[in-house]
Structure formats: structure tokens, C-alpha cells
Amino acid sequence: MSSKPYLSLDKISKTYALGREKFGGPERFLQAVDQISLDVPRGETLGLVGESGCGKSSLARLIMQLERPSSGAIAFDGVDPAGLNATELKAARQRFQMIFQDPYASLNPRMRARAIIAEALVNFRKGNAEEINRRVEELAIQVGLSSFHLDRFPHELSGGQCQRIGIARAIALSPDLIVADEPVSALDVSIQAQILNLIVRLQEEMGLTLVFISHDLSVVSHVADRVAVMYLGRIVELGKTADLFGRPAHPYTRTLLTAVPRPMPSSRGKRSRISGELPSPLNPPSGCHFRTRCSFADARCAAEVPVLRVIGGAQQAACHHAEDIQATLNQDEIETDNA
């Protein structure tokens, strides 16, 4: 990695206590994020993919300081917000912002768009009412909304328009980092491209560092410089977008790539079959979490947790058999036209 990381995660974990299922039963814990270490350099777009429940949003909330990690440390530009007091933390919040998965639910239904966007500016006293209002109008234009949209309530706006308001709110304080948590998954296909374009454009204009979360590989491959693949709370593979999609080293990455149906003639009837059920995150398999669905799994996979290790260039994978798998990779099986 070239520059000093802007965002740096050091072995952070998050465990949720779920209480007891029945009286007298054991207390249950869910390890949503498991020892994740990650560096994101300034200006980079990091894609984060993985199936539902693998901990993507939890990770996003940890980064956003909406929750405290159970262990590990987060640093923005070398500073860990965990060490800040309430006032300092509030001030620090200006530097990192989030775009939420559900554009409608992330807007207070009883506030008008104008107030929603203005709230951040009000919180940090960015000028008097008039200045704030002027800024809100500017932001609206920046995200492609007209000022009449600003006087509407969220339910009077379409999903795409709601997401634009969410984006305007996120950029209002000119943050350094934006975490976009599945920003298009709730939107109609024809709107998706509008929002993706908007995010990419804003990122470039503002020189943002972007963490882009999605379960849609094609979306991630479109926007990300690097991609991290998560499975049940752990990062299983991390690398440059082209490398990772071109030469996946972890069997789960491979499974994902084949499982996603793509509107290409090559994907007709050519999927490789996936066996095994998705394990419960409450009770994940020992060792490598993926071993129950993996054709390469052996005794070692059950006994030993594979660590994320460099397997060539900038590519890292958490698999005992990564090299073998990469070697046996049959290029025909995988789409390459996204590289």
C-alpha cells in the first residue's frame, strides 16, 4: 500500500449478546465481526462484499462510531475516536459519514428534506439560518435535486430521491470518508445507475475515501479499487479488484462469482453447483467457517482458523489451500470481462 492509511482497523471484533433462548438456557453470543484488520488509504474506494448477515453493516456501524467494538482499535488518520470524550467525538464525526442501505428508513418521516439535510449543518453551527439554507440548496443541486424537492416529506419522494437526500446529508459536512452501506440495493434497477454515478462523481470531486458495501459483485467491481470479501464475520479475501475477480484465491470468492447469475450467455446453465446449507452465524463451524460448503476442505480446515495472508502481490486470502486453488483455477469457469 502506497500512502499512509486514512482508515485503519486493527483486529476489531463485535460480539452481540442475544440473551437466552429459554429460561435457564445458555446465554447466546453472536460474533458479527471477528478480528478484522484493514487499512484504507486516503482516496481509495474499498469494496466490501459478502452474503447477508456476514457482518458488513456491523463493520460499517463500528467504523461510524455508532457502536463500540468489543475489542480492537479503529484509527482515522492515526486517531482512535474511542479515546475521545463526547464533545471531541461529536467534532470528529464531521470527518466520516455514512450512506444508508434503506433510503427511506434512514430519513426521519416527520422532517422535511430541507431540515434533514440542514440538521448536520445546524449541529455544527455552520452559519446562520440563511447561510445554512443557501448551503442546503447548493447540496441539493449537487445531488441532482430541485429546490421544490426540499419542501417535501420523505414519503412524498421516490426511493432514488430519498437516497439523494441521504447522500446530500452525508456530504454536507465535507467529510473525508464515506461509508456507503448497500446504497443501491433498495432501489429499482433503472435508478441504480443514477446513484452509482452520483457517488462515484462526488467521490472524485471531493477526494473522498470510500468504503462501499454491497452484496452485488458487479456493482462492487464497478466502483471499487480494492475488494474485501467477508464470510461470517471474517475477511476471507482481500485484493485489487481485477486480481480478485480474475484470480480468486478463496473458494468462497469463487463460489460467489459462479453463484451470481449474470445476464451473459455464458452464464446459461453453466453454474457450478453449490452444496451445503448456509451455517447459522450463531453457531459457525470450527476452524474455517466456510469448510462445510467447500470441496477443498480437509481436517486442517476444521482444526485451524486460516489467517489472512499474502498470496501474491497485493492479494491476501484466508485459506489453507489458497495457492492450490489458484493453481487449479480454470479460467473458463469465471467471467473475465469485468476485469
Binding site: E51, S52, S158, G159, G160, Q161, D188, V189, S190, I191, Q192, A193, Q194, L196, N197, V200, R201, H215, L217, S218, V219, S221, H222, V223, T241, A242, T255, L256, T258, A259, V260, P261, R262, P263, M264, P265, S266, S267, R268, G269, R271, R273, I274, E277, L278, S280, R293, D337, N338
Partner: protein, 348 residues
């Protein structure tokens, strides 16, 4: 790619929908949810219905099943025939005999589509008891058979399980088992995999394809995911704002998109034809509300090909080539513009 899958009997239509128009009315006004929808499902084929949220996919399915809400929905015109039997306007008794027996249906959200307070065994068995009049034991046996058919591991012990004890993928498979328990002629799957994870979705899609092959039923497969369509369906219909705007066998449609909306969709998909971080082709505007009946093309306001003529009353579907039709007066221009994109070239 063969044009037609071997298991399709082109000569026989299981279901024929013609000129179906439907309105919802409530205090806010009238919504024309379906406008002159016609199509046929052939024996053994998977017909896919694609389109964005609110375009009328589910309503189409519900009209076929006779499950439209009692109040507010009004069928303006049209007919739905299952084989020789007219379903529109049929009595509730008749429809009850059709549902679950001759037409099975599965829904988008397997998490909530199963009744949480009954065992899955009971929920499957009750279908065959209802339609086949089987005894309790026989119905249970059938339920077990179905669970095995849809590849539920340890099926015998799962009969007594409650839905919350199963994973999402297993629940969706239970739904399929339930829909197929009476060997229906037609399976309607309304976005059956939208709520599932990609790997689980792949398993379910495989299952549906296999079952179609083994049981020889017809499937209406509703989705908004073009990837799912291309990998599963034989034929597809694209819907926009209550109308079918383009219809063709899958490979023909991808190879020669002839409606502005289809073209827009294909172009705006990331990772298909663009380079990394290129600006994607956008469809401007947003999905229309249906509360105003438009005479002309509903897509025209968002369409880059639109001309004044698009606002004139819509002509009947244009035949592009055999089995391929589109409701677009500019279909030639559309195709010409898009023919060089990666995705179309890949299919051509």
C-alpha cells in the same frame, strides 16, 4: 444455445392471458395496474416476467390466481384461461380447486410466507388433504416425499419443524414443496429468490430448473433481475407500467433489444458493458406512478429515443422477428444504437 428447450411443447398453451386490464381504486383515485396484458404460457416452459417494482408483475400473478383484494380491484377486461377453463369471474369454489392444485404459487419472501405457528409438515400436508382428500398419514407421507424432492436434508425429522427453525433457503424450498405437492400444471414463482443470498439463490434456481425438467410443468418466473432471467428462463417478457413492452425468447431479446426501456436497462447494468468506474448509462427520471392512464408509451418521458409520436395512442405490439415483439415505434433505432454494446454483442 438452442432456441427452444427440449421440454417445451410449443403446440400447447397451459395458460392464456388475453387483453387483461385491471384497475385499483381507492380514495386517492384510480390506478391502472395492468393495461391490455396478453401472453401465453406453453407447456413445460419457464416464462419470465421482468420489470421494476410496481410495474404490475405481482398483480398479473394475482389475477391469474384470483387472489386480488376483494375491495378496490376491478378487472376492466380480458380473460385468463387455464387450459380450456376461464378463470376470470369463476366462482370462489372453482378458484379454490384451481389454487394449489392446478396452479402452485411461491412468493418472494420465504421468511414470512410460511405460517410461523404450524409445522412445515402440516402446512404441506394440508394442501394434499384439501385437494386430494388424502388421509392424515397419506398426506404426511406425501409431505415427506415432497421435502425429499426439494432436497431438504434429514427430511423425515424436519416434518415436525416450525418455519423459524429453518434457514431461508430451506424455507423457500418448503414453499416450493408446498406449491408442487399436487403436481400442478403451472407454477407461479413471484420473485422467489429476491430475499435470498446469492449462493442460496443459486441453489433455489437450480432446483426450480431441475423440477421443471423432471416434472414437466410450466413456470411463470417473476423477477427484476436480468441475470436470473438469463440463466433460468426460456422466454421473457419485459413489463413497464402495467404493460408488456417486449416479449421474446431470452437469447433473442438480449441479442436484439427493441424497446427503449429494455435497452436502457441493459445499458445501465454495471459490469456488463462498461469499463471500471466509467459513467454508467442512466435512465433519467424515476419509475412512473400509475394513477394517470397514459394513452401513449409510458416510458416516453424517460426515453432517449422518444419523439412526439410516442405520445400517440400505443399501436399493437410490433413483430421484430418470429416470437419476438416489442411495443416501440422506434425499435429499429433502439437496436441500432445499442447493438455495439458488450452485452448485446455477447448474445448476438
Amino acid at each position: 444455445m438452442t432456441a427452444v428447450s427440449p421440454h417445451i411443447d410449443t403446440g400447447q398453451n397451459v395458460l392464456t392471458v388475453s387483453n387483461l386490464s385491471l384497475e385499483f381504486s381507492n380514495s386517492a383515485g384510480v390506478v391502472r395496474a395492468l393495461d391490455d396484458v396478453s401472453f401465453a404460457v406453453r407447456k413445460g416452459e419457464i416464462l419470465s416476467l421482468v420489470g421494476e417494482s410496481g410495474c404490475g408483475k405481482s398483480v398479473t400473478a394475482m389475477s391469474i390466481m384470483g387472489l386480488l383484494p376483494r375491495h378496490g380491484a376491478r378487472i376492466v377486461s380480458g380473460s385468463v384461461r387455464l387450459g380450456e377453463q376461464e378463470l376470470l369471474g369463476a366462482s370462489e369454489r372453482t378458484m379454490r380447486r384451481v389454487r394449489g392444485d392446478r396452479i402452485g404459487m411461491i412468493f418472494q419472501d420465504p421468511m414470512t410466507s410460511l405460517n410461523p405457528v404450524h409445522t412445515i409438515g402440516m402446512q404441506i400436508a394440508e394442501v394434499v388433504r384439501q385437494h386430494r382428500g388424502l388421509s392424515g398419514a397419506a398426506a404426511r407421507a406425501r409431505a415427506l416425499e415432497m421435502l425429499e424432492l426439494v432436497r431438504i436434508p434429514d427430511a423425515r425429522n424436519r416434518l415436525g419443524a416450525y418455519p423459524h427453525e429453518l434457514s431461508g433457503g430451506m424455507r423457500q424450498r418448503v414453499m416450493i414443496a408446498m406449491a408442487l405437492a399436487c403436481d400442478p400444471e403451472l407454477l407461479i414463482a413471484d420473485e422467489p429468490t429476491t430475499a435470498l443470498d446469492v449462493t442460496v439463490q443459486a441453489q433455489v434456481l437450480d432446483l426450480i430448473a431441475d423440477l421443471r425438467q423432471n416434472l414437466g410443468m410450466s413456470v411463470i418466473f417473476i423477477t427484476h433481475d436480468l441475470g436470473v432471467v438469463s440463466s433460468t428462463a426460456d422466454r421473457m417478457m419485459v413489463m413497464y407500467a402495467g404493460r408488456i413492452v417486449e416479449e421474446a425468447p431470452v437469447e433473442k431479446l438480449f441479442a436484439r433489444p427493441s424497446h427503449g426501456y429494455t435497452a436502457g436497462l441493459l445499458q445501465s447494468l454495471p459490469g456488463t458493458q462498461t469499463r471500471h468506474r466509467d459513467v454508467l448509462a442512466e435512465i433519467p427520471g424515476s419509475v412512473p406512478r400509475l394513477d394517470k392512464v397514459v394513452e401513449g408509451c409510458a416510458y416516453a418521458p424517460r426515453c432517449s429515443f422518444a419523439t412526439g409520436a410516442c405520445l400517440d395512442p400505443l399501436p399493437p405490439p410490433r413483430r421484430i422477428e418470429p416470437e419476438h415483439s416489442a411495443r416501440c415505434i422506434h425499435s429499429e433505432t433502439v437496436f441500432e444504437t445499442i447493438r455495439n454494446t458488450d452485452i448485446v454483442r455477447a448474445w448476438a
